[in-house]
Amino acid sequence: MSQAIIECKDLKKEYLLGSTKVEALKGVSFTITEGEFSAIAGPSGSGKSTILNMIGCIDHPSSGDVIIKGTNVGGLNDKELTRYRRHTVSFIFQSFNLIPVLNVYENIELPLLLEKRFTQEERHQKVMRFVEEVGLADRLKNKPGELSGGQRQRVAIARALVTGPLVVLADEPTANLDSDTGIKIIELMKSINKNDGTTFIFSTHDAHIMDQARRVIKIRDGLIIGDEVKQEGRQVAGSREV
């Protein structure tokens, strides 16, 4: 049985919008096990990005705990959180977030350079492995501005994977792509998940993309309203509607 690597316990998030208090999360709890390919699904403003941000250590819950591999990240300081983002979790962003002045190779190599423990040769091997995996070997010298949306997201996927993180978080990774490209990107993520066992959690509001996930956590108005696990596209026993 796969090991639980992420536990979210009664996550709540409140913030002020002007003078109005907004409850983005109203008490969300779930567990992610190693090797999952899960979607957090829901309409805009439902709180799915907020959940990813908390798991990704870039936002804090107002209350509740995020426990990654046994560590409650709520108690970590800025340096420790940075280290977590460098080693443990990786992000794929909706807007790709590539560094515009770096080419494809350099963008993918950047997290390895930040980690500072790899030799040039090691970095090269890792970068080339993922460049091949995302199919951009012929685009190494291109800057992000010279790539299509799909290609940029492939670079972002390679960048997220290159350090070998425990979990890859993707915030609406297909939102800025056309449907076909979106499907291809999700299929790419899925194949990496299948081949390497990397855990993926992505948020989406697109039903077609949702279908690709093996587990779908449905969220609305800051609450989980469903959590279903599928086997090769079928809903399986044990899934539930909340």
């Binding site: 983002r85 962003f93 770096l102 930040l114």
Partner: protein, 464 residues
Amino acid sequence: MLTFMIALRSLRRRKGRMILIGSLVVLGTVIIVFGTTFSQSAKVFSKASIIENFTGDFILYSQRSRELPSPFAFQTPLPLIEKADQVEAWLAKQPQVASFSSIAQNYGLISLQKDGISYELPFIFYAVQAEAYRAMLGKVKMSSGTWFGEGSAQVQPGILISEYQNQQYKQKYGVTIAAGDKVTLLSLTGGGSVNALPSDVVGIFDPQFYKNVFNYINFMDIGTYAQLFNFTGVTALPENFNQALAASSDDDIFALADDDMLGSLNTDLLEKAELTGYTMIAVRLAQGVSTEAFAQTLAAAGFPIKLARWDEASGFFASVADILQGVILGATLLIFLIVVFILMNTQIINVLERTGEVGTYRAIGADKSFVRSLFLWESVILNVAAASIGMIISLVLIISFSGGISLPEIMSQYLVGGGQLRLQLSIMPFVLGLALVLLVSLLATLYPIRVATKVSPLAAMSAK
């Protein structure tokens, strides 16, 4: 080097804005480097000009004087130097002394008749030993006549009048003096009497340096001066003369009457003294001799005189180059202050525009020092590159003007005493320029860096 590389490329990506800021830094650098070179060269030339035209390395003056001497000022008459002839004799024997020239500053009247009209013209003058002064300090161009008969066997006594002074006479009194004119010089002596002495106008001159001073100063040979102001005599009368003069009772006077020698004066017994009336002695030291070292030797000699260094004796004129340097530094600091604010403002906009990018760095594992280093490099690269361009431009300008810059006459006279200013290449202005630019970079980047390091990784989510 990762941050250096990203910073460099980020700057290239924002070329337009960076060229604008860089241009300001280039301008500031040119002003500081060229300006400092200019003022330093002016200082060197000013010093040389003052030493070679007015003061020598220092001026000796009476110990009784409460004021510093100045060849430039006539407001306060200086006390006469006591035993000036002995001081001169001592100076002549000192191997550290290259040359010296004694000067008496005074004023009088020139009385002359032209076309049946009498004129009495005021004039201030230096009374000088013609040859010594001419050789050491007297760099004037003779318009007519000669420098006290220069080139002939003997000094031609009389006075020299400056061209400017002559023009003033024409404007105010309607008369012009010419070389060869016979005049009568009038003086008010220390004893309160008025002396008159027939004399000649030996020449008309045009000062070549510090015209703003020397246009108003004329010259008189020391022999004429001594006669005009009663500075000739003996050191002491015979003892019996002194007793007679000191007699306080009738008995004493009658006792002296028995002295056969009283009433006759044996001039052979009189010790002649040169009572020159000098108020200043300008001294040039031999190469390598310091004024401080010579001052100790002088103090040991025990003369009742004091020493004023060239810069003390030249007052305002010695500080003109310093004032200019201050103005240049002030202007530069003002420009750099503006640059600091523009740079800071631009950097803050830069950070705000790039919050998504900064957030991305943080989200993928960059710590705050990475962000700090990135923005610091951007500032340093931009400023050092701009400063380098500024320095190259300055270097070209300095080399171009090393043959001499023609300054406006009034500026040239006050700054370097007249003539062209040749710029002298020196490393210091370049070091100063670079140091200032680096300081500006640092100051202008501190706050933007603070803003950048406070960008949350969450900002990556809002990146477009």
